[in-house]
């Protein structure tokens, strides 16, 4: 056992931290977040030049990382910077689907993703699927060599700005079957796609996608027809490691801001951190953050294990990221008092993102239930 990061990963971490400190202030971030696409193509290109997108891909796919700990160390820093660029959408979700399912010509797109010149979004969740990964009603019926697709996709992360979409559809079976799901890679300009983009409360962008008699050629199918579920599960697992790691970075910013505030804000003639009521709440926050960090390490380290062990570790990390993320966000706001309620002070932007992470790819309750069901499968 070894709990130290490799030299390479520490260098990556330092590089991201430096870039964010120099170029990614909160005011600039909020301006970019409010722009039409919700992120900066220019900054995205700089991230690509630094090799940060490539860090999410294996050497085989043209990257230079791709392991659980690469994801973890990068996303922790992205969390500290409250970065809005589409690392999860394009780098993790789109990239993983292409890597696992794409043929050679489809995989050629990975080089463009790594270069930051092309973005991909995964349109999987649906208006009534909640967090259930196998719930897909969007249908594809054969049409000559290709298919005709109809259905709706919900809260697709960065789907409004993506150059390509990966859309999951049901080709056989019932709504909740794992078998019978296919994935298609299509340009965002495909006829019949209706995309309604919007900002999210935590400064990201997502969209609702309607597919109205969308005609897809045979070349758009990713992998074998009806066999996309394992890749969807794996892409989601990697996204959850990324989000849980991002949560650690966010928690640490909230923690540091709150500690400083407790040390400097005076009421009743003393620093409010002198009050035991606040000290003990802060001690709980500090202790629980260490728990969240440990569960992320466990998940990142177990990402290559067999399915049940991998998914249990991922669900564990997401349970703790959700529970502790909410604790840290709420306690940081409460201990600050009124100032934390303002847009300008800054804490709120980290707190909002921290709470919303629980709404991506499964919340505490969903992953608790999932952990139970995985435990039963293992028994």
């Amino acid at each position: 056992m070894d709990f130290n990061h490799t030299e390479d990963r520490i260098m990556l971490k330092d590089m991201v931290a430096r870039f964010i400190a120099d170029n990614y202030g909160l005011e600039e971030r909020n301006k970019v977040a409010a722009s039409a696409e919700g992120f900066s193509r220019d900054v995205w290109g700089q991230f690509a030049e630094l090799g940060l997108i490539g860090a999410l891909f294996s050497e085989e796919d043209g990257g230079f990382g791709g392991a659980g700990f690469d994801i973890a160390i990068l996303f922790e820093e992205l969390g500290r910077g409250l970065v809005v660029e589409p690392f999860v959408a394009s780098g993790i979700l789109g990239g993983t689907m292409l890597s696992l399912l794409g043929n050679d010509s489809q995989k050629a797109l990975i080089a463009d993703i790594i270069a930051g010149t092309h973005t991909v979004a995964l349109a999987h969740g649906e208006p009534t699927s909640h967090y259930d990964l196998s719930h897909v009603e969007t249908s594809a019926v054969p049409d000559g060599e290709g298919w005709i697709v109809n259905g709706s996709k919900a809260v697709v992360l960065n789907g409004d700005s993506a150059d390509s979409l990966i859309v999951t559809v049901r080709v056989s079976g019932n709504t909740w079957d794992e078998d019978g799901l296919s994935a298609f890679l299509l340009p965002a300009t495909t006829e019949g796609l209706e995309i309604r983009g919007y900002p999210t409360i935590d400064g990201l962008h997502a969209c609702e996608v309607s597919l109205n008699n969308v005609r897809l050629g045979a070349e758009t199918l990713l992998g074998d027809s009806g066999k996309a579920y394992p890749a969807i599960e794996m892409a989601t697992a990697r996204a959850n490691v990324a989000l849980s790691s991002e949560a650690i970075g966010l928690m640490e910013v909230c923690r540091d801001m709150t500690i400083e505030y407790l040390q400097t804000r005076k009421q009743f003639g003393v620093a409010i951190g002198k009050f035991q009521a606040l000290q003990h709440r802060m001690a709980t926050v500090l202790t629980e953050i260490e728990q969240a960090r440990s569960s992320v390490i466990n998940a990142a380290g177990r990402l290559d294990l067999d399915r049940v062990e991998r998914e249990k570790a991922v669900s564990s990390a997401k349970v703790l990221a959700g529970r502790i993320g909410r604790l840290v966000a709420e306690e940081a706001i409460q201990m600050h008092g009124g100032i934390a309620m303002t847009w300008e002070y800054g804490l709120a932007h980290f707190a909002k993102r921290l709470v919303m992470i629980d709404h991506q790819f499964g919340d505490v309750d969903y992953h608790t239930a999932r952990y139970v069901s995985l435990s039963r499968q293992a028994a």
Partner: protein
């Protein structure tokens, strides 16, 4: 980062397993696993077996007869010992006094007492708390007045765990009332057979007798039994409280407790189905398991971190809080898993040799008393509230 055991660590684990398989008496393991009360002879026999193997002092440096194991090795040993049903070694001499003697004791004290801890000649108990000095330990009043070559000790200690078995006690005593309260405390080693010492048992809420009151009435203690300098005892006391961090989270015992809870939940039936399939129960269980899995990593991560010594205070406090909260959550859920059978309490059923038919399931007898007994763990060793104050004080400078 690598969460897997190395070849050496796996070999070490095998060595530990072999030792436990061949040396841990099955009757003793059975007592531990079924929650029977251990008697003095049980603890002494395991102590002797461990000493014979040279593994008794897992956290001591090699020069004093310790194992020199690193954090991962100590955790492997703890996991395996707990899983096999080995009793915990009695910590007062081994894990509390010994580190203090090694750091602050005289050469003669080290030479005299460390070997006697290992070979079991001395059974130490701890004289810290007093009726008026609990969380506010520095307010202690038991005083020691110098009289020639002796200190004369008067006062009372309390919560003295297993004091009924001990022949020696290490005590914090007041040697000065000048200046700050913390600067008038000394650390004394006292022979329990000295005239003037009275030990009186305290019966705990579930009927057990593990703690005592110890009274000192003109007890004469040779000045050679002072550890370090007079009036510097508070420094030594704090060192003692933060030093023994390895097992503070009790990861191994928590894992065993979780496994036992699962076993019970698989055997308890609700509407003909195992309780473990009940969704609300299963969710509660999963959340504890998830927390424990993270704590096991927190434990190893913090203990094997290079700056762990500098961070000893807040780290050991975090581990104490988390470890005890998880244990209490496990005890609580185990009690609830039994339903009405949490209620029957035949105290004799916890003694070795009890041969009556159990009331209800055979695993039920010790569950509720363990739940009640373990309310102590968030109180002792510095209550969890004291730990929270330590964390903020050390991490926020407040």
């Amino acid at each position: 980062m690598d969460l897997n055991y190395s070849e050496e660590e796996l070999a070490f684990r095998d060595e530990v397993r072999e030792f436990l398989a061949s040396e841990l008496p099955s009757s003793l393991a059975e007592k531990v696993k079924t929650g029977k009360r251990l008697v003095k002879e049980d603890m002494e026999s395991w102590h002797a077996i461990m000493n014979k193997r040279g593994w008794l002092a897992e956290s001591w440096p090699v020069e004093y007869g310790g194992t020199g194991w690193n954090a991962v090795q100590q955790q492997i040993f703890d996991d395996e010992s707990c899983a096999a049903g080995a009793p915990r070694t009695v910590p007062f001499g081994l894990k509390m006094l010994a580190p203090v003697l090694m750091k602050y004791g005289s050469e003669e004290q080290k030479r005299t007492y460390l070997p006697r801890i290992l070979d079991g000649s001395d059974w130490w108990c701890q004289g810290y708390s007093e009726p008026g000095a609990g969380s506010d330990l520095a307010s202690l009043k038991t005083n020691a007045v110098r009289d020639g070559d002796h200190y004369v000790v008067n006062g009372q200690k309390t919560w003295t765990t297993l004091g009924q078995y001990a022949n020696m006690i290490f005590c914090l005593v007041r040697t000065s009332n000048e200046g700050k309260r913390q600067e008038g405390i000394s650390f004394l080693l006292i022979d329990m057979k000295t005239p003037g010492i009275t030990v009186r048992p305290i019966v705990l809420l579930e009927g057990s007798r593990e703690v005592n009151e110890v009274f000192f009435d003109d007890v004469r203690v040779p000045v050679g039994n002072l550890v370090g300098e007079e009036n510097k005892g508070w420094t030594y006391a704090k060192y003692l409280l933060t030093h023994e961090r390895t097992n503070i989270a009790n990861v191994g015992a928590n894992k065993v407790s979780l496994a036992h809870l699962k076993y019970i939940a698989e055997n308890q039936k609700v509407r003909g189905r195992p309780l473990i399939e009940d969704p609300i129960f299963a969710a509660r269980l999963a959340q504890i398991e998830i927390d424990l899995d993270a704590m096991a990593t927190t434990n190893l991560r913090l203990l094997s971190s290079p700056d762990s010594v500098a961070n000893a205070g807040p780290m050991s406090s975090m581990l104490k809080i988390k470890g005890t909260e998880i244990r209490q959550a496990l005890n609580d859920l185990t009690r609830r898993a039994l339903g009405p059978y949490a209620m029957p309490f035949v105290s004799e059923a916890l003694e070795t040799g009890y041969n009556e038919e159990p009331i209800g399931p055979d695993y039920a007898a010790p569950v509720s008393q363990e739940y009640f007994n373990n309310r102590k763990i968030t109180i002792y060793g510095g209550s969890n509230e004291i730990q929270r104050s330590i964390i903020t004080k050390m991490m926020m400078g407040l």
